[in-house]
Assembly symmetry: C2
Homo-oligomer: 220 residues x 2
Amino acid sequence: MTSIPSPAPRKHPLQNRSAESQRKMIEATLRLLDERDIELISVRDICREGGTSNGTFYHRFGTKERFFAFLVEDMLARREETAMRDLRDSELSMTDLAKVLARSAIRNFREHSGLLRSAMRRHIIGDPCWTPINHMAARIVEHFIERTTRVCGRKLDSHDQQAIHFAFTWLYGLLSYRTLRLNRLEQFYPPDDRFEEETIRTFTVIIESALPHDAIAGKP
Amino acid sequence: MTSIPSPAPRKHPLQNRSAESQRKMIEATLRLLDERDIELISVRDICREGGTSNGTFYHRFGTKERFFAFLVEDMLARREETAMRDLRDSELSMTDLAKVLARSAIRNFREHSGLLRSAMRRHIIGDPCWTPINHMAARIVEHFIERTTRVCGRKLDSHDQQAIHFAFTWLYGLLSYRTLRLNRLEQFYPPDDRFEEETIRTFTVIIESALPHDAIAGKP
């Protein structure tokens, strides 16, 4: 359905050295992306920053484009794994689950802010690199709705489902706005710890106003 | 403080024909911007779409850059005038005032979505065109805080002020996310009327959770 270049197949780390050099390249590139857009980063920059050779990079990833797609895929795989584990945690109330999901979304945006900024900029000019991010968000919210259904013991009507989707849209909107640095005036751009605290507080209010009353307190 | 090119001085419309041709160029450009980025629109496109001559355009605006800055300034002038009028309306409770401000923000983003999208894209690559938009948002929120102060009859502490700024940050984040079409999956991208309704409903919840209790019901 999409024309995103397939990421390079992940190789089994037969040697620690190989896994280690891949990890170094990923971390180096995330650092560089915090400073500038992917268009302004060369394979040579990545290898210099990561302390690996150009040959290792090309052998493993082929092109910078494939490496960029790999970085997005790698971020999503880890984010989805964490979210799905939280979604299965039957000790959490719906409100606590929402807080946990919001906190990991905030951290994911913070830890990958440069990568996400480059991906958003590409999306804006028509590149499909943002599509898998939206599909993952959709899967997380679908599971959140399924769990709400179990807590309530009845199927949610479309109005209730839309309200839950919309609550997450507010969260993704806020995180994207911050990631794109659309407003860095001091009063609109609190430091990270204050931002996280205020986001969790308000998201709790938003999600509780979206959830059916009988879902708020209950556990499945 | 900023290096934005100054907009061309607005000329007094000595002739109706002159005001009319300016209005046509503005409307034509807003229509074209809905379809594509400012970089992909030429002065010739604007004049053809607006039914005016290239000579009229250059006489009035000088360059496409100055015209783009003029479009932003023209949008802001109208938006701020409306917001300041609402902020002075002493019949409105703080909650109703928040709803009115949110509704006009939603409509402003909708009516200027192409213009705002081009401005955001330029902001992302370091252009200062978005700066006056943030300054206007800051003035509106400052006035909202001043009015809250009058309603409460005491100065708000910095925590209360931050909470109000943060409530508006959620709103601007949501509107920017939609304007950039960062997620057009059906469940995250409701039609305009449903989007407006849900945004107002949730923003009311957000602002009431940010306002001091004694400000919610009161009127100045």
